[in-house]
Amino acid sequence: MTPFFGPLEHGRIPALQQTRVSAFLISAHGALTRQLGVAIPASLHHGWQVEMHSQYCREMEILSLLGRATSWIIDPTLGFQIWQWEVAWLPRPVAGAADRTQGTLIDLAAFGHALHTVIRPAALLPEGFPDEDPFALAMRRIEFESGRLMQAQILFLKGPQLAPVRDAVAAAVESRHSQVRELWQDMLHSMEIDTSGRHSLVPAYQARGQPAPVAAQPSVAIKQP
């Protein structure tokens, strides 16, 4: 098991790994996009609906980017996995909410929160991996955008309007987190990737006196990672 993509093939992320990760992300972000599309009214009346519309557009960008930046290959295992993922993403209105509409919105926000926080695709890139690789750049952009996209969900889920049902909200978010994390890790394990090892890496502070390791390339379009 390794915490990163690899071993590299001619300096690139193996196509199977690209395919499987992108298929997972397209499945999850696609489901979120569809659910947002249904939830956004034709005419916007509240500020949070504007945020939701913005999210919808950003999710579309992520889907388009993944489709074009990935080196796809045929993966016979994907059929079953995609079915499994799609079932998991189905809406699950939260019990304990004021009404079914609120319960559905909480679930949608919880799913989005889990997707944007648990999944860290750029953290799978080997250290020092070149910025100009389109797949790597797509992973970085998706993770960077996720940090911003999650803010709308945080505002909604932590907001005063849900304070009366805070326990139900917290339970729903934890449940979506567990679900997304489990499926994401299962998919990674199928490629011998285990992200738990990332915390065991020697901090750079303790590498003084040793030869400089390959440093991360200076970032171009996005400041991080």
Binding site: A123, V173, A204, Q224, P225
Partner: protein, 319 residues
Amino acid sequence: MPWLECNSRRIHYELAGPPNGPACVLVNGLTQYVRLWHPFRDALVAKGFQVVSFDMLGQGQSDKPSLFIHQDDQVEVLGRLIEKLGDRPIFVAGISFGGVVALRYAIDHGDKIAGLVPMSSFAEIPAQLYMLGAALRSGLILGGTSFLQDLLFPMNFSSEWLDSMRHLIDLARHRGWLANDVYALQNLMESFLEFEPLTDQLSAIRLPTMILTGEYDFLTPRPLQESLRAHIPDSALVIIPRAYHAFTLEKPALTAYLVTHFAEDVMAGRWRGKGSIWVAPENVGGELTPFPEGFDHMRAIPVQTQAPELAPQRKATAS
């Protein structure tokens, strides 16, 4: 790898050193994780301490609650770890955010530990710190963990140290980015939104307390440490020369030396805090010296009764 269960949450911790010696529990700063303590921890272990370090809720490998993290929960985790250490001298050292957790623990459970070391810490959030914290939170939200680290590097370290680490800064940023999650850091920061000053409760800390502060720390500057000194009866303030906020990383050996010096004094019954003020040595093995009488330790400028003579150029300008 040891884990602690606390209220259905899993806490990752590490134990190092002899199991029968005095113990020292280290409490992380905001973006810290267990691995970062290793040089500091090893220096304490070499002095015969058993050292416990742990990732707080929301950090490193410990569970990361998705929406809310309460400081009370962090204090409870610290308490559970201290309970596991049994009956022996136990010292608690926390830096910055971790210092707040350590202070809160000591206010309620000071009888369970032998000594306390708040480092670069605070008991209240004045306007400067509040606005800095808010700006750091905005930086995290808008620019992610890497941008937060970009802001923290120059706040935490000296130019000399940053220069010497220049070839490793990208790697340091990357490793810190790998270990931290945006939402978890945000939750940790937002656990201060309902923070009530601890100042009025500090007098309840009756145990020996060594307050460590960096000479040049502008993130949690001297007045915040002074407030701790003024309110904790058996405390002493120790100023580390040329240090900034994160001296446990920049000067791990010296900081560990100071902590062991303090612990040995406490265990030998030699410790006399009495609100005294000291200057730490520049290097391991040096002596602590009392802050010079006749000077105000709150000022960056040595305020004397007789004004120093102005340089010629300044004289001309002044005239």
